[in-house]
């Protein structure tokens, strides 16, 4: 029923109004005396060197790519799972083939070392 989605939007609206309120309230009552040391990036009291948005390990990109592959696969599985009983043997075999292809890919990325974090 489409009208059942309305309360979610009301909820988001209420929350979106309610959350900035304490920020605005705090703005009225909180002290405001920044100093040079307070405004530096926190690095345990040592003056920061170099840009903080430097290079970082490529592993994070690989994890992101793997996530996209496997999450899309999960999304394919969701509607199949809900209608599983209606599909019968046909649905079961179809999905076993799909999973078999996926597992072959999974073994391949494991052998390639994409899952190692070194």
């Amino acid at each position: 029923m489409p009208q059942n989605y309305v309360p979610i939007f009301i909820f988001i609206a209420v929350v979106a109004v309610m959350i900035p309120l304490p920020l605005l309230l705090a703005k009225l009552v909180r002290p405001e005396n920044p100093s040079k040391a307070k405004l530096m990036p926190y690095e345990c009291g040592i003056d920061p060197v170099d840009n903080s948005r430097g290079r970082y390990t490529v592993r994070y990109y690989i994890v992101a790519i793997l996530f996209v592959v496997f999450d899309v696969e999960t999304i394919f599985l969701f509607p199949w799972a809900v209608k599983f009983k209606a599909f019968g043997v046909f649905g079961l075999v179809e999905m076993l083939v799909f999973l078999a292809i996926l597992v072959v890919g999974y073994i391949w990325i494991w052998k390639k070392g994409a899952l190692e974090w070194i």
């Binding site: 009208q3 059942n4 989605y5 309305v6 309360p7 979610i8 009301i10 988001i12 209420v14 929350v15 979106a16 959350i19 900035p20 304490p22 920020l23 309230l25 705090a26 703005k27 009552v29 909180r30 002290p31 405001e32 005396n33 920044p34 307070k38 405004l39 990036p41 926190y42 920061p48 903080s52 948005r53 970082y56 592993r59 994890v63 992101a64 793997l66 996530f67 496997f70 999450d71 999960t74 999304i75 599985l77 969701f78 799972a81 809900v82 599983f84 009983k85 019968g88 043997v89 079961l92 999905m95 999973l99 996926l102 597992v103 999974y106 494991w110 899952l115 190692e116 974090w117 070194i118």
Partner: protein
């Protein structure tokens, strides 16, 4: 059928009550955590503010408002301010589809004990909680500080890694229940088999393994011990919220605990039979008892969360990633295939 005005009014009333209860629950989960971890470590926890320190959350809230809120000049301001709000909105909104009990009739209005009953409730929860990653990633990036960036990267990588196992562990439940609606899933778990064992998915549906996959992935999703590497204080200070102070920091804090409560609710609904339990006595008691059983389960989950925090040490990051990708993921796929075969066999 309700008229449109009644529908909107009833929805708004339910939203206000749900938000009030949720935020109070968040505040007292923090209190519970401090108290329980305190006792685990042979200390008292909060005792000063009110009896048993029960007013501590209130005192903390007042302190957060009166604290100086620094916005350092090196941050990217729009995202820096938006990030905690995204995290908190995503954490709170998922409560909108969680049912806490049966239908009730109050003042002639017949309504479910749930803000809205959607036939894709589980998908909505998964979608909204996944959006929470944006809050963490944007906070880490926009802070423009090394600790924050590393914490944000770690948190996002960890959350997306365990999301795969989390999603796969739920598919077994979906096969057994045949519906995305949380209410239908709970209704399918009523009754007993072999005389006394309740027909919860963890027993009757054979989702025992899926339950533990879900639990472990959920701990990683919410960045809790033993997967709290994004905020590993011994190496990253405070992770993605290093540069946040006062109310903005409180928002990340509240988002984390609201996510914990959502996880506890979903685990109770999907695996432990939701609000099913012995119902007896006069009509008013019969209406309240299911809610009581549900809250009891959620409380149990939160207690285990805290217990785990008081007991386990932290993983190393490569161990965390290997555990998620090389152990939980194949286990979840195997569980899914076996569940499908068993359900097909039974049919």
């Amino acid at each position: 059928m309700l008229s449109i005005e009644t529908f909107v009014v009833v929805s708004v009333i339910k939203i206000v009550i749900a938000l009030f209860v949720l935020l109070t629950a968040v505040a007292y989960t923090v209190w519970l955590e401090r108290k329980v971890v305190g006792h685990i470590q042979n200390r008292w926890g909060p005792t000063r503010v009110g009896p048993f320190g029960l007013l501590q959350p209130l005192a903390d809230g007042i302190k957060f408002i009166f604290k100086e809120d620094l916005t350092p000049p090196h941050v990217y301001k729009p995202l820096y301010i938006a990030a905690p709000m995204i995290a908190l909105i995503c954490a709170l909104t998922s409560i909108a589809v969680i049912p806490i009990g049966n239908w009730v009739t109050i003042g002639g209005v017949h309504t479910p004990l749930q803000i809205t009953d959607l036939n894709i409730g589980l998908l909505i929860i998964l979608g909204i909680t996944s959006l929470g990653v944006y809050g963490v990633a944007l906070a880490g990036w926009s802070s423009n500080s090394k600790y924050s960036l590393l914490g944000g990267l770690r948190a996002s990588a960890q959350m997306v890694s365990y999301e795969v196992s989390l999603g796969l562990s739920l598919i077994g439940v979906l096969i057994v229940a045949g519906s995305f609606s949380l209410r239908d899933i709970v209704d399918g778990q009523g009754g007993h088999f072999w005389g006394f064992i309740p027909k919860w998915n963890i027993f009757y549906g054979g989702q025992f393994v899926a339950f533990f996959i879900y639990l472990i992935s959920a701990y990683a999703e919410t960045n809790r011990v033993p997967f709290d590497l994004p905020e590993a204080e011994s190496e990253l200070v405070a992770g993605y919220h290093t540069e946040y102070s006062a109310m903005k920091f409180a928002m990340f804090f509240m988002a984390e605990y609201a996510n914990m409560i959502t996880v506890a609710c979903v685990a109770s609904l999907l695996f432990l039979g939701g609000w099913h339990g012995p119902v007896f006595g006069p009509p008013i008691l019969q209406a309240i008892l299911p809610v009581f059983w549900f809250v009891l389960r959620v409380f149990g989950f939160l207690f285990v969360y805290i217990w785990v925090r008081g007991t386990l040490p932290r993983f190393r990051y490569d161990q965390l990633m290997a555990f998620g990708w090389k152990f939980l993921l194949p286990l979840a796929i195997a569980n899914l295939v076996i569940t499908a075969l068993v359900v097909a066999w039974r049919a």
